[in-house]
Each structure stands twice: as C-alpha cells, then as structure tokens.
C-alpha cells in the first residue's frame, strides 16, 4: 500500500482523538452557575435594621403548553410505591413550581450567620422531598430514608466535595452540609436512577423556592438595588432588577418559556 495513504489514515485517527479531547461534554450547562463569580463587591454595610426591612414576592409562570409529565418506571424495586411522575417541569395552570429564587447581586459583602436549625431531605416513595432545596453555606441538612429499601445519596457538585453514601431502610438520618455556594447542585440515587433532586447553596438567607402555586416570598431585605435570579433545573436562569425602599413590599413576577 502507498505510504502516503498509510500516513493519511493514521493522521485521521489521531485527529479524531485530538479533536475529541479538546471538548469535554458538559451536561450541566443549563443548570445555572456559581453565583460567587458574578457578585460585584460592594461596600461594607451596617447590620440590617428590621424596622426598614423590605419584602419582595411574586409568581413564576410557565408560558406555552405545559409539557406532558414523564412517567417513571419503578418496577426495578418492589419497595418503591410512590408518585411515579418526574418533576423536571411541574406547572399547574401555568404556575411553575420548584424554581429557586435568590438575591444574586446587591448584598455587597454582608455576611450572615448560618442558621442553627437543620433542613430536611426525605426519601419517600423512592423520590426526594423536596425536589428542590435551598440552604445556606454550612447549614445542616438531615437526610432521612422513609422507604423500605436502601437508597444512596450521591451529590455531584462542581464546587463542593462529592460524596456517595448508602442509607438502609429506617436508618439514622445522615447529616451533611455544603461549604461553598453552588446553584442547582444535582443529587441522585444510583440505586434508583430516576431519583434526582437539586440543592441550592448560598451565603445569604434571602432565597425561596416556588411552591405548587408558583409563588415565592423573600422577607427581611435591607433597602437597596438588587438582582433577583430565578433558576429552573431545565430551563436555566433568568434575572430581574428590583429597587427596594425601606419597608417596601414589591411584586416581581417572572415567566419561563420552554
């Protein structure tokens, strides 16, 4: 065979390898990014005066046709007898649930104490409850297993430490926390591959997750100019700017489109 032909074939293979290596598949692009990189430093400020604290609330809506819910096949494990619909997009009458809302910009370099009370993740019916959780950095998370089967809890963070622990039925709760800010940190159970949830970790207490009615409320904000971020696990992040005066109560609605 011609030597040039050999060389061409070899180069083709090599190019395929090199070109492929140059781009790593990123499956989490639409899940938001770490807020820490975008927060502008602001001057140090005084402690928040409760007498002037403002409030922002609103409704997150889903525009367009609500996607048909995806059914989960739980037949792999007879002990799994829960709601078998996926929670990727949960919209009722156009109101979007499970949207994480937080103050992305405007708090400056204020620091906040980590809450002493724990927040809970419950594994029940082979699904995580809640589907979207929000906590502060360092806040304790108590993970319970109310199912008659073993689960494993496996967060796959970008900025925090990854871990993977199994939890037999009725075992003592596992207590964990996340040290760094991270938005839409995926958590999954490798034993039941449909079990997925997201944990949002931020430094401030000004956040909320929309309920089934699409509503949210953030209280106790000091007067100022803020950027509110609305993050949905599949549709990504949207932001709105809002100015709050002392004792203000403003409504900021947000719409998502597929």
């Amino acid at each position: 065979m011609n030597k040039k032909l050999w060389a061409a074939l070899f180069l083709l293979c090599l190019l395929g390898l090199l070109a492929g290596c140059s781009k790593k598949e990123n499956t989490n692009e639409e899940q938001g990014s770490s807020p820490s990189s975008e927060v502008k430093p602001a001057p140090a400020s005084a402690p928040i005066d409760p007498a002037t604290a403002a409030r922002v609330s609103g409704t997150v809506t889903f525009g367009g046709t609500t996607p048909k819910g995806q059914k989960i096949d739980m037949s792999q494990d007879a002990a799994c007898k829960g709601n078998n619909m996926a929670e990727t997009i949960v919209a009722n009458d156009g109101k979007l649930a499970n949207v994480f809302v937080y103050v992305k910009e405007g708090l400056g370099d204020r620091t906040f104490d980590t809450p002493k009370d724990s927040t809970t993740i419950d594994q029940k019916g082979c699904q995580y409850h809640p589907h979207v959780l929000a906590v502060m950095t360092g806040q304790n998370i108590e993970i319970k297993n109310d199912d008659d089967t073993t689960h494993n809890i496996h967060p796959t963070p970008k900025d925090n430490r990854e871990w993977n622990e199994s939890q037999p039925p009725k075992a003592a709760p596992i207590e964990k926390s996340f040290a760094r800010e991270e938005i839409m940190l995926p958590v999954k159970c490798n034993q039941h591959p449909w079990m997925k949830m997201y944990v949002n970790v931020v430094k401030s207490p000004f956040f909320a997750v929309t309920g089934a009615d699409g509503k949210y409320e953030i209280k106790g904000l000091p007067p100022g100019n803020y950027t509110l971020a609305f993050v949905q696990e599949k549709m990504g992040e949207q932001t709105q700017k809002v100015t709050l005066a002392a004792k203000d109560s403003k409504t900021v609605d947000q719409g998502f489109k597929p």
Binding site: M1, C13, G20, T150, H154, S166, N190, Q191
Partner: protein, 351 residues
Amino acid sequence: MPAVPRASCPRSGGRDARQRAGGDAGATQTSEEPLLKAIAIPYNRAHHRFAVFAASATFLLIVAGALVTSNDAGLSVPDWPTSFGSLYKIPRLVGGVKFEHTHRMIAQFVGFLSIILAAWTGRADPRRWMKWLGVTALGLVIAQGILGGLTVLFYLPPAISSAHAALAQTFFCVVVLIALFTGRNWLEEIPQVEIRHDQNDAPRPLFTLSLLSVFVLYVQLVLGAMFRHHGLSWWPHVLNAATVAIVLAWTSIRALLRYSGIDSVRRPAITVLALMIAQLYLGFVAFLTRVAWGHDAVQPELPMVISTVAHVAVGALLLATTAVLAVEVWRHSPVSVREHIPGRERKAVAA
C-alpha cells in the same frame, strides 16, 4: 509485488514441508530447521476448552459491565473492595445494585478463571510465549479489577472509567487469542505459507493492514468509552466510525481475495465484515436512543439500554475477531527464509 513461490507447509509430519521450504529458500536455508509458524504442539482439549470457557465468561462480564453503565448503576454500591461493608454477603439485588453487584461477582469469577488459566498454561503449554500470554492475561485482569475499584472510589472519573472499559476488551482479546492458540485448528492445521527467498525483509501489506484494523478499532473503542463515560462529545466516535468501516472492509475483502481457500483466514474475515455491519447499525440505533431521543429521559430507558449494551458487546466481538484475523493473516502471510525456530525450541517437531 514480486512473484513468490508458494510452499504448502504441513504443520504435522512436517519433514516434507521443511524440505520444500528449504528447497524454495535455496542456498540461504540449507538446514532442516522448522519454520517459526509451524511448531507441532500436542492438542490439549481440556486446556483449550477451559480457555474458551474463560473467554465466554469474559464476554459475559463485558455485557454485565455495559449493563452497569447503561443503567447508570456504577455507584449504586458505594464502597470497594467490599460491597456495603462486606466481602462475601450478597446484598438485596434490586435497582442499580442488581447490575453493579452482579458485575462484581462475575468479575471475581473471571479473575478466578484467569488464575487457573495462567497456571494451567504455565504447566501444560510448552511454548514459552504462551506461558507469558497466560501471565499477561492474569496481570490484565488484576489491573482491571483495580481500575474498577478506583472508578468507584473516585466517583466515576471519565479517564479511569474509560480505561476500565478499554482494558476490559484488551483482556477479552488476550483470552480469545489464548483460546485460538490452544485450539486444534491452530495446532494441527496445515498452513499455506509462502516462502520468500528473493526479498528476505519484504513487507507484508495485508498483515500490516490487519494490524491497522486493530489499531483503528482500538481508537474507536477508546473514543466510544470516553463518550459513554462523559469525557468526550459523541462526534469523534461517530466520525471515526467511517474510518473504521473503510479500513475493516478493505482488510476483510483483501483477506478474502488473497486467502479465499484458507478457512482460518476466510472465517474471521467474513465474521469481521458481518460484525462490522451489525455494529454500524447498532451504533446508529444507540445514537438515536441515547443522544437524539434519550437525552431528556428521566431514567435509563429499555431501548437505550438494549442498543448500547449490544453495541458494546458486538464491539468487543469485532475487536477480538479482528485480532484473530490479524494473527491468522500473519500466520499465512509470506515468510522470510531467515525466520527460524530459536535454538532452544528446536526440539519441537515441525511443520
């Protein structure tokens, strides 16, 4: 290509062959030394059958491993080398544990088979390189077990998971070759070997082409494994499929044309062609079910699992068959008259 005389070299009762080979080689081959490719070794049926069994078990292990990945069950047992803290207790085989722990149990069994195979080959096979091949298989299976453990302990890093996938098929090829080299066909077949006496170092283009086939397939295996384990996009694997198809088709057709009358070459050449067509089809279906239709799936869906596992399994068979083809082409390709049995192995009866 210069005209070369052909000599039929019977592998057993080889005096005729040696004389003919020596005769064809002219003045450069005056002794009655047997050709390297034609060493008579007594066929050991039990050893050969055990090697075939080990190869079959390894194939089953590859399928079990593919099921783990396709079902996203790689970390369902979070510890290693124990499973949920125990070395011997079988956990409740539900959900992902069913795939992961079954894979571990088959892997332990294959590891056990590899120890026996290496020891048996060391004792029963007089060929020194075969003893080393047995030891190599054992080393590979140990390395493979360690990689499997590391990928669990480090939460499936793409590089380690891909290396685990690639080494699995490397080990499979080695065990398949052990089965080939211990087979009756290999030991007793009469190879139709050409003797080149005009160009001692003449190139053997078909053999080189068959080696290239193994190489491009291995590159394809690595690209596929990296895509499957989230270390790479899908397109390098898909793009390289065209190169693989061209090289494999070219090799097989040339082998069929060149050695149409030799079963031991014709059979793997036809099998490579058939497996390659099946593999292209499976690759297309796997792409549809995983990339095009399945990227939003809430859990691994059956069509995706079936097509991707079949793609891995047929890929393993294709790589092993291509390796067999390369070996058979080497065996039947023209030999230099300089290629003689080393002195220490001359006691082997030829042919």
